[in-house]
């Protein structure tokens, strides 16, 4: 019995961790290339979840089309935000960019509040309510399986994309040195826009998966998971794709275990304590590389 609940918690942890990992992958991509902390990432998750919700319940579209709608809207939104708010600030101090990003995040949250009110909406069960029986009383719900598979597929896809394709190599070049990349004929602006597009698309997927697991949808749904996913990205080493994956999974497990065995109220506080401890002990994260500063 104790073992069963342990395994159940572990599965829940990995499932939640997979959502964090997908969000963290978006954070890490943008941070790696644009060198900025995209605070609005968490709110793009929320927009994605709302889009999928309206597509599936309002227009009665099948789940696949609902997810595609969310991805499409979020990608456009991500590029739009980048062009309007972040692009004019490419050359200035990171403080100004950070304040702008917070403004964008706050804007999305409050615009959603005005448009869709703060009444919670119940997200539909897109992947059915059943699950796979694993002997005895242990069942894995389909939504958990989908979440974990999606996370692994996305991570492997991103590693292959940044490692093997021309565009991916251009991205890595931009993250190393923007000026040198430009001299090599890489279109830096287009590359940064593409990164935002990918990050926002991932946020849309994460939003749908998050709300499938926790169906209460409100305008602030995305902000807390967004911050936690940033913690996950730092945990794994910011800028590193496998790091974001590892950090996300570990953080999900930590959160579920602390709420199961320690205290539900303190679970959030414990997750953030992890962030502070990591920054104290190993600021580069588990898989991060030490970046040397150049003048």
């Amino acid at each position: 019995m104790v073992f069963l609940s342990f395994v159940n918690n572990l599965i829940n942890g990995i499932s939640l961790g997979s959502v964090y990992a997908i969000i963290a992958l978006g954070y890490t991509m943008v941070y790696g290339i644009a060198k900025m902390l995209n605070f609005a990432h968490g709110d793009i998750i929320m927009v994605g979840a709302y889009m999928c919700f309206f597509a599936c319940t309002g227009f009665g579209l099948p789940p696949v089309l609902g997810i595609l709608t969310a991805i499409l809207v979020c990608t456009v939104l991500g590029i739009l935000i980048e062009q309007l708010a972040y692009k004019p600030l490419r050359q200035v101090t990171s403080l100004a960019v950070l304040i702008t990003a917070i403004g964008v995040s706050y804007f999305l949250q409050n615009a959603a509040q005005l448009m869709w009110t703060s009444n919670p909406r119940i997200f539909p069960a897109l992947f059915g309510n059943g699950g796979i029986q694993l002997g005895g009383e242990l069942t894995i719900p389909y939504k958990t399986l989908v979440t974990i598979c999606a996370c692994v597929v996305i991570m492997v896809g991103l590693i292959l994309f940044t490692g093997k394709t021309r565009t991916g190599k251009a991205m890595r070049a931009c993250s190393e040195d923007k000026d040198a990349a430009q001299l090599m004929g890489i279109n830096v602006n287009a590359t940064i826009s593409l990164t935002f597009a990918i990050g926002s698309a991932l946020a849309a997927v994460a939003g749908v998966l998050l709300c499938s697991a926790y169906p209460k949808l409100i305008p602030t749904t995305g902000s807390m998971p967004g911050i936690k996913a940033f913690t996950a990205a730092v945990f794994g080493g910011i800028g590193s794709i496998p790091g974001a994956f590892l950090g996300g999974i570990l953080l999900g497990i930590i959160e579920i275990f602390s709420s199961a065995y320690l205290s539900t109220e303190l679970a959030n506080a414990i997750v953030f304590l992890v962030l502070i401890v990591i920054l104290l002990v190993k600021p580069t994260g588990l898989l991060g590389k030490k970046i040397r500063e150049k003048v």
Binding site: M36, L37, A85, P88, L89, Q91, V92, T93, S94, L95, A96, V97, L98, I99, T100, I102, G103, V104, Y106, F107, Q109, N110, A111, Q113, L114, S223, I227, F230, T231, V234, S263, E265, L266, N268, A269, F272, L273, L275, I276, L279, L280, P283, E293, V295
Partner: protein, 355 residues
């Protein structure tokens, strides 16, 4: 040349002191004449608290060049510890101003300790870590205070965490009551005290900025590598400014709490931190007078005359944050504005705009 710059600077500092004192005298005169609307009278002390919070955040954002998104968390620390101190001293026979001063001192000391706790691991790192860690800190504080129980009985203070039963003896009284926060606070903070703390904060900040340490802090803001290469200890000076800022926020929190009937942990959430940031950004980074004016206007207006727009308030704040950053930093937006307003010369603002 150098002397000229210093003189210009101190003239601006004296202008700031002068405006604050004049505002105080004017408010006192209006109140003595009995012409102050009662709706505004109750807002004055909280307004002072927000001004102090804005000025202290401006020290972190404008002078140090780091972003704190958990300033409300430091206010919360100050509010709850300060209030506890004031209520613990309630039967000691101290006059109310003495208890208030004790509350402010205790609140700012503990907030400073919290600032050091957050600052030590984070400020030695480069990058935007402080923003996210202070945000996390704000959440941690909210969780901790929501589950905190403090009571007092003749034996002294009793503390409890997560469970309301803290074993109070006879004649005991709860002070901090978990999610319900502190209720039945004696409103002992006064407008005079608020203005005195504002002046004290201004004196500390202006003197810090004009001192050797202040120049080191600003050098770190403008170019960390260059500053470190001339031997400035980055962690030490950053920590100095940040802890000072946290202490002032704690004082603001204590002042605020003692002007309310009840305070709960949810009062000091992320929205409050953003509100203070909006004051600072709108008033101008590094410009203390700007922060004071912005805090005054943006605190009084929405509470009194602009209530019907309250739904749009947060949205407008968000637009203000983005718009201010684009206007002050982007060359393109500036030239566009310059074309629209040809008679106004766009002047490079102090301490920002250089990449």
């Amino acid at each position: 040349m150098k002397r000229l710059i210093i003189r210009k600077k101190s003239r601006k500092n004296f202008l700031t002191y002068g405006i604050v004192v004049a505002a105080y005298v004017a408010l006192m005169a209006v109140m003595a004449a009995g012409a102050m609307p009662s709706a505004i009278q109750g807002l004055l002390v909280p307004m002072c608290a927000y001004i102090i919070a804005a000025v202290s955040l401006n020290l972190t954002v404008g002078v140090l060049g780091e972003l704190s998104l958990g300033h409300a968390g430091f206010m919360s620390v100050g509010a709850f510890t300060g209030c506890t101190a004031a209520m613990a001293l309630a039967n000691s026979g101290m006059p109310s101003w003495g208890r208030m001063a004790a509350a402010v001192v205790v609140g700012s000391l503990l907030a400073a300790a919290a600032g050091a706790l957050v600052g030590v691991p984070v400020l030695r790192l480069q990058g935007d870590y402080l923003a996210i860690v202070t945000l996390a800190f704000g959440e941690i504080i909210k969780t901790v205070v929501t589950n905190l129980y403090i009571g007092i009985d003749p034996q002294g203070l009793h503390f409890g965490f997560l469970k309301p039963d803290i074993g109070l003896g006879k004649g005991g009284k709860m002070i901090v009551n978990g999610p319900n926060g502190i209720s039945g606070i004696e409103k002992i903070s006064t407008l005079t005290a608020g203005f005195l703390i504002i002046l004290l904060c201004l004196v500390v900040i202006f003197n810090l900025v004009d001192s050797r340490s202040g120049r080191a802090i600003m050098a770190l803001r403008d170019n960390r590598i260059a500053a470190e290469s001339v031997g400035i200890n980055a962690t030490k000076y950053k920590l100095m400014a940040f802890v000072l800022s946290a202490a002032m926020a704690g004082a603001a929190g204590a002042l605020y709490a003692l002007s309310q009937n009840t305070v709960t942990a949810s009062k000091f959430d992320f929205n409050t931190s953003i509100l203070i940031l909006v004051f600072v950004v709108l008033g101008g980074l590094g410009n203390m007078l700007g922060s004071i004016v912005a805090a005054t206007v943006l605190y009084i207006l929405p509470e009194t005359w602009l209530r019907q727009f309250s739904d749009y308030r947060m949205l407008i704040y968000a637009v203000v944050l983005i718009g201010m950053m684009l206007v002050t930093n982007s060359q393109k937006v500036r030239t566009l504005l310059g074309k629209l307003l040809p008679q106004k010369k766009t002047k490079e603002k102090e301490g920002q705009g250089d990449a």
